[in-house]
């Protein structure tokens, strides 16, 4: 098959919001920029499905200390407060950047448009509960927000390469000097030599069931790991309930917005086991209910106005998210008349864990930067802090990563790799195409999902079960991955995703075994309480030779909150039977 070789100052891998920001910023600083995406920049990445943008501004009445306190508390004192401050402080400027790119937002009067610099947009304020106080978010006004971003990237003068899947980073003298991959339709080999590289390719999603996260396989994190980059907080993952008949979505978002006071959720015995729905631990509480043998779990019919709901949903549809009305109608589900069953889906690691970076978005490997969900900022600690924090985080980290990558690139002269190395990368990329027999990526994908997704593995965790899952993943690693076989470029993509997911699963499970406590969304049945004495720490993972090294680093003292508070006050989220 033919090959393409390119050279660039800054290579950005992954064209969601973080990647677009990185590319645009790097270009602003007069760099030569190439943005590659395994799908299509403009319709891929989680950002395409995002609806909210968290924007903080003191002039609009936001209280800095209150927000910081919220991140700390919801993140259960593992939130990195340096990043919390940066993301809060810079969210407004990135919001303005988006408007300057031509991104519409909802205005205060409910119309869609372009708010003036001093004008507060429409912002949805959350009801104040003991779990959440100040989350105030604005809303994107266009469904195709990422096509607007694509246009900005192109108009800036960056080069976009769609349908290029990057599989491995190029290494030279302990630095990263670009990446290798292939075109997922033509199969062409791509070698892109770069002075600096930004990974913005999203979370480790195991091609999850959840809407908007289904294409994420964590390739950026795992290729970084293989090149020596440290990963942080990979034990934290997210599970959420989905509607059985439309098994990629939840339907409660719009309901909360139009004033549903309380979701009524009942177990098999008809008991309403959620007396008050806190925002954060709800998924854990559901999973525990299943675990106790009290499934199936039903959501009782909503008692909000049906027409209002459909109107709100239409707005959802116009600006992002799933076409929920269509989906519900096709499933024959009337959520105002019928109770509907929901069950658990595991998302993978988003929001918090990923490639460990400093506040300049540098990893520990020279020439390698990370942004968005691929980056481990720890800014929301163990959980998901606020709606719109993903897009705000992606924008802020993307911008910073682009800027720093340019600074690094300016001092790099030698970034060419030799032909022996090129042949090595070609071998890795095409390996699965050259095998005669072996295992199909579809088979291995199914086996990974069946190992990771059951609620009792990664949502209600226990050493024995984590260990048994790890045993299977090790088998996949040793037996399936070296024998993956693909017969065309499309399946080659799946093969490399599977290769990434197996490694990512091993990192995740080992990190989960390592943290012997429960915290936030991380629930260990065998260690059901927080252990402030031993575990106000971040878990880190790094490749050492062929071994996976895992260790913990204490969070700075000033991040730990008031440790003298009684447990129930310090941790308003309770797992049920503590």
């Amino acid at each position: 098959m033919s090959e393409r070789r390119l050279e660039t100052d800054v290579l950005v891998i992954g064209g969601g919001l973080a990647g677009c920001f990185a590319a645009v910023r790097a270009k602003e600083l007069n760099s030569d920029v190439t943005l590659v995406e395994k799908n299509y920049v403009g319709k891929s990445g989680c950002s395409h499905y995002a609806r909210d943008f968290m924007v903080f501004k003191e002039d609009w009445g936001d209280n800095f200390d209150e927000w910081m306190q919220q991140f700390s508390q919801i993140g259960e004192y593992l939130a990195d407060r340096r990043w919390d401050e940066i993301i809060l402080r810079e969210s407004f400027q990135r919001f303005r950047d988006l408007i300057s790119w031509g991104e519409p937002f909802y205005k205060k009067d409910g119309t869609v448009g372009f708010p003036e610099p001093g004008e507060e947009p429409f912002r949805l304020a959350f009801r104040k509960t003991k779990y959440r106080r100040t989350a105030v978010i604005s809303k994107f006004g266009a469904r195709h927000k990422m096509l607007i971003a694509r246009k900005k990237v192109i108009d800036s003068g960056c080069k976009i390469l769609d349908r290029i899947m990057i599989t491995d980073l190029l290494e030279k003298d302990g630095r990263i000097v670009g990446a290798a991959g292939f075109h997922t339709r033509t199969g062409e080999f791509y070698l892109i030599e770069a002075k600096a590289t930004v990974i913005s390719s999203g979370g480790l999603g195991f091609r999850s069931a959840r809407y908007g996260r289904q294409f994420n396989a964590g390739e950026g994190m795992t290729m970084g790991y293989r090149a020596g980059a440290e990963l942080t907080s990979m034990e934290f993952g997210q599970g959420m309930y989905v509607v059985k008949e439309c098994d990629t979505v939840t339907v409660d978002g719009p309901v909360a917005e139009i004033g549903q006071k309380r979701d009524r959720v009942t177990n098999a015995k008809g008991e309403e086991f959620l007396k008050e729905i806190p925002h954060i631990p709800i998924n854990i509480l559901w999973a525990i209910e299943f675990h106790k043998g009290r499934g199936p779990i039903y959501h009782e019919p909503y008692d909000v106005d049906r027409e209002k709901y459909r109107e709100e949903l239409k707005k959802y549809n116009e600006t992002a998210e799933a076409p929920i009305i269509t989906m519900l109608d096709r499933a024959g589900l009337d959520i105002f008349k019928d109770r509907f069953e929901q069950y658990m889906a595991f998302d993978g690691t988003f929001y918090t864990g990923g490639l460990r970076i400093n506040t300049n978005c540098e990893t520990n490997v020279p020439g390698l930067y990370a942004a968005g969900d691929a980056a481990g900022t720890n800014f929301t600690g163990t959980t998901y802090a606020a709606l719109g924090s993903g897009t705000a985080g992606a924008s802020v980290t993307g911008y910073r990563a682009g800027q720093q990558a340019v600074e690094f690139a300016q001092n790099i002269k030698d970034f060419k790799i030799n032909e022996v190395e090129v042949a090595k990368y070609r071998e890795i990329v095409y390996g699965p195409l050259q095998r005669q027999g072996g295992f199909s990526p579809d088979h291995v994908l199914m086996r990974i999902q069946q190992t990771i997704f059951p609620y009792e593995i990664r949502i209600v965790m226990h050493e024995k079960r984590l260990q048994s899952a790890l045993t299977m993943i090790e088998f996949f690693r040793d037996h399936f991955v070296p024998n993956l076989r693909a017969s065309n470029a499309h399946d080659l993509r799946s093969a490399h995703e599977v290769r990434s997911m197996v490694l990512g699963a091993e990192v995740m499970l080992r990190a989960a075994l390592f943290r012997t406590e429960s915290r936030g969304w991380f629930y260990r049945e065998d260690y059901p309480r927080r252990d402030d004495k031993n575990w106000l720490k971040w878990v880190l993972v790094r490749k050492e030779g062929e071994k996976m090294k895992i260790w913990a680093e204490p969070v700075p003292r000033e991040y730990r909150g008031d440790t003298s508070l009684p447990y129930e006050v310090r941790y308003p989220l309770q797992y049920g039977e503590e």
Binding site: R185, Y211, F215, V242, T248, N317, T326, R330, R493
Partner: protein, 72 residues
């Protein structure tokens, strides 16, 4: 499979769905100049194609239906 059909009578060959599919399920059939469901096994029911189709040629069912154990 979530993506059930692309109506070739209606399809105008604009390729919006071919570009927009995040799972590379849809390809372009050069011979007849229409979109083609090539790898339905990988469809994730994201609705990009159906929502963006200018002529309403695509139908997607809302259930992926294979990999999440129901937990009870």
């Amino acid at each position: 499979m979530p993506i059930e059909k692309i109506d070739t009578e209606r399809c105008n060959g604009c390729e919006i769905c071919v570009d927009g599919c995040p799972m590379d399920v849809i390809r372009f059939d050069e011979e007849v100049k229409k979109a083609l469901i090539k790898y339905p096994k990988d469809c994730i029911a994201c609705y990009n194609c159906e929502e963006d189709c200018p002529v309403g040629a695509i139908y997607v069912t809302p259930q992926r239906g294979t990999m999440v154990p129901p937990a009870w």
